[in-house]
């Protein structure tokens, strides 16, 4: 009995030592947690790792309009600090929506390239630069070699790299099954919004599929869309959820 207690004490002590050696402070800074326990536990380190590439695509028609994927990514970018570089080929973002999830227009620098290759090059350059909050690229194709380069660039500078995959036609979206070097891969599909007691549209809900995560298990989550600070929450199907975030409150 006493020996068991003693060994337990030894174990905790050892654990503390190891945690100190690993530097928990550093580890906290090396990931960006969602603040949602169920999702964070699925991700190694407890959140989206900085210095890595993360791929996000929309499901269904979202693969073409990329609205939910962009907003999901915008919410992640809003929770970082520092400038955000957003590379794309055609600018159809409506920025007021991103300002509503806490991404201030002063923080975001857009780089509009005329070709997909130009976007890849600027994306890599921005990832290598270091010191940015996040770098976002909207891409149609992401070949293995390109993603590898991007992942390495992100690892070197410790910048959060976010890719919004977006296609011109629904048939092309099968490209999302091809392997890339990205650390995580997400698919965000729209779901009917949270029911309200009165007619109207409640907080938007998404089905977030974590399709692939390096050194971790994937999962599916029903989440409430980003609030005024870019945070998501876990949503249940229950009709009477009390917490309506700022956005939907403004609607009522």
């Amino acid at each position: 009995m006493t020996s068991a207690v003693a060994s337990n004490a030894v174990l905790t002590e050892l654990r503390e030592k190891i945690a100190n050696l690993e530097g928990s402070g550093v580890r906290h800074r090396s990931v960006l947690p969602f603040g949602v326990g169920e999702i964070d536990t699925q991700l190694p380190g407890g959140g989206l790792s900085y210095g890595a590439l993360h791929e996000v695509a929309g499901g269904g028609n979202g693969a073409i309009d990329g609205a939910a994927a962009a907003l999901f990514v915008g919410g992640i970018a809003a929770r970082t600090s520092g400038k955000v570089v957003w590379c794309l080929t055609r600018f159809d973002l409506f920025f007021p929506a991103f300002a509503q999830i806490g991404l201030h227009p002063d923080r975001v620098i857009f780089v509009e390239g005329d070709r997909e290759e130009t976007v890849l090059a600027s994306f890599e350059e921005a990832l290598r630069y270091g010191g940015l909050g996040a770098v976002v690229a909207e891409l149609v194709r992401l070949p293995m070699t390109a993603s590898r380069r991007l992942q390495l660039a992100a690892e070197k500078s410790g910048t959060l790299g976010l890719v919004v995959r977006r296609w011109r036609r629904p048939t092309e979206a099968s490209d999302f099954g091809m392997p890339t070097a990205a650390t995580t891969r997400w698919r965000i599909s729209v779901l009917p919004s949270e029911p309200l007691a009165v007619p109207g549209i409640g907080r938007a809900r998404w089905l977030a599929e974590l399709m692939r995560v390096r050194a971790g298990e994937g999962g599916e989550f029903i989440i409430g869309a980003c609030d005024g600070q870019g945070r998501i929450c876990l949503s249940s199907d229950a009709a009477d959820r009390p917490d309506q975030a700022g956005r939907s409150r403004a609607l009522r």
Binding site: Q100, D106, Y129, R247
Partner: protein, 474 residues
């Protein structure tokens, strides 16, 4: 109208558009012109002052457009714009911008871009259009029909050739060279070859006295990219040292490559704000070194700060809390010098009309913290122009029951609205009473859209009462 004189002869040296319309031509005797038109305003030509003005204009072009600029006396400027047009948004934008800026100063200019100096010279002087761009390798086709006078021959040679029945460049190009040379001298053949690019014609660039310039000559021509890079780095270091003593920072810097075959190649880089940072400038040049074609070797490299502004070093405040926001200007410069992309930020405009509420501003513009009003939900993607949809809806205030977009019919399950947006009658008189009613609708699969009805649903004057889809929600 400008009158030139030689001895007692007086003739028209230049005439403006109004005069040309009245039938006056350059070269006409002044007395004849006076007989044709009453109250003619005549100014004596002053070639020396013209030359000075042209020189000033050339120096301005040097700081704005291209590293290799020279006067093409008496009436033109020649520039080698290769490797510099990207800073102005490409050849077309650069050319139209140049002509417009000159027009703003009251100068009627015509500009042409071609493979060779000769061809550009001829095209700019003969075309009736404001700007001409000849695609790479199409010079021969473009100049064939031009008159002989555009070929930069002495006037006697032009007159002589006309007498012999030659009218265009093509006529002359198709004639055996030997008899021509025998009669008119080697000049004719040389000018033709220069126009078609068979003989190189380097531009001797103009330089200002106070230009900050460093150069390096090589006893043995260099060509390997690594060697070029090494010397470029050294030149940047020298340039920065010189700039530091004068308290300046670069806004535009040129690298001019002199090759052993007497041709000149130039690279220009621009920065968003004055720079004196060695690593930063080196990076800007290093990105573009691959564009240099060493050919048989490079014998001289020179680097100049064409546009420099004063730069005062500021001490950065260090704070105990690590909350430092990295300056992104170097990254903006690197991306901006690549070409093929636009870099911008977005900023709010005080307008209720969604497509007018966002403007693009320079990435380095001041951050004023302004943002949009947050009362109403906005879609993350806005269609470039609203798309017409077919709708079943109860007028005037109800959201639609169903709508058809891209041939797919969607039943509306939930909706929010209307949010009424009025036309900006204080800006556009056509929007005097225009109204849009915006609704957020969600169909049974959960997809959310932003649709509006043009008009208030009652009064037909407020809009067509057609429905449009304007944005996609997440």
């Amino acid at each position: 109208m400008v009158i030139a004189r030689s001895g007692s002869k007086r003739w028209i040296a230049a005439a403006d558009q109004a005069a040309t319309k009245l039938g006056l031509r350059v070269g006409m005797a002044a007395a004849k012109a006076q007989a044709l038109v009453q109250r003619l305003i005549m100014i004596d030509a002053d070639p020396a002052a013209d030359l000075q003005a042209l020189e000033r204009l050339t120096l301005w072009a040097l700081s704005q457009y291209s590293p290799v600029v020279a006067m093409d006396s008496p009436d033109g400027i020649v520039m080698d714009t290769e490797g510099a047009d990207h800073l102005q948004g490409g050849e077309e934008l650069m050319l139209s911008g140049l002509v417009n800026r000159l027009r703003g100063r009251g100068l009627a200019a015509r500009a042409a871009i071609a493979d060779t100096w000769g061809a550009a010279h001829a095209l700019a002087r003969t075309t009736s259009r404001k700007t001409v761009i000849v695609a790479r390798g199409e010079t021969a086709k473009a100049v064939n029909r031009l008159p002989l006078s555009s070929l930069r021959f002495p006037s006697e040679a032009v007159a002589g050739l006309r007498t012999l029945g030659f009218a265009t460049v093509a006529d002359l190009a198709a004639t055996p060279r030997a008899p021509l040379t025998l009669r008119f001298g080697p000049e004719v053949g040389r000018r033709l070859d220069q126009m078609f690019g068979r003989v190189a014609e380097p531009i001797d660039p103009i330089r200002v006295a106070e230009l900050v310039e460093v150069q390096k000559s090589f006893a043995e021509p260099i060509g390997a990219p690594e060697t070029i890079e090494k010397y470029v780095t050294r030149l940047v270091r020298q340039l920065c040292l010189q700039l530091e003593t004068r308290g300046l920072g670069v806004r535009r810097a040129d690298l001019i490559v002199h090759r052993v075959d007497n041709t000149v190649q130039a690279l220009r880089v621009g920065t968003a704000k004055p720079v004196r940072d060695i690593a930063w400038l080196t990076k800007l040049f290093r990105d573009r070194i691959e564009r240099i074609e060493p050919g048989f070797g490079i014998e001289r490299l020179s680097m100049a700060a064409v546009l420099a502004e004063s730069l005062v070093e500021t001490q950065s405040a260090s704070s105990l809390i690590e909350e430092q926001i990295t300056d992104v200007t170097p990254l903006i410069d690197v991306l901006g010098n690549r070409g093929g992309q636009r870099i911008f930020r977005v900023a709010p405009v005080a307008s209720d009309v969604p497509e007018r509420s966002v403007q693009r501003i320079a990435p380095t513009a001041d951050e004023d913290g302004a943002t949009w009003p947050m009362h109403w939900l906005r879609p993350p993607r806005l269609l470039a122009r609203p798309e017409l949809i077919e709708v079943i809806a109860l007028l005037p205030d109800h959201p639609p029951v169903s709508f058809t977009w891209h041939g797919k019919r969607r039943r509306v399950k939930r909706a929010d609205g209307p949010e009424r947006i009025f036309g900006e009658w204080w800006k556009r008189s056509t929007e005097w009473i225009a109204v849009r009613d915006y609704f957020v609708v969600e169909d049974d699969t959960g997809e959310r859209f932003w649709i509006f009805r043009s008009g208030d649903g009652v009064d037909a004057d407020t809009g067509s009462h057609k429905w449009f889809l304007h944005g996609v929600f997440a």
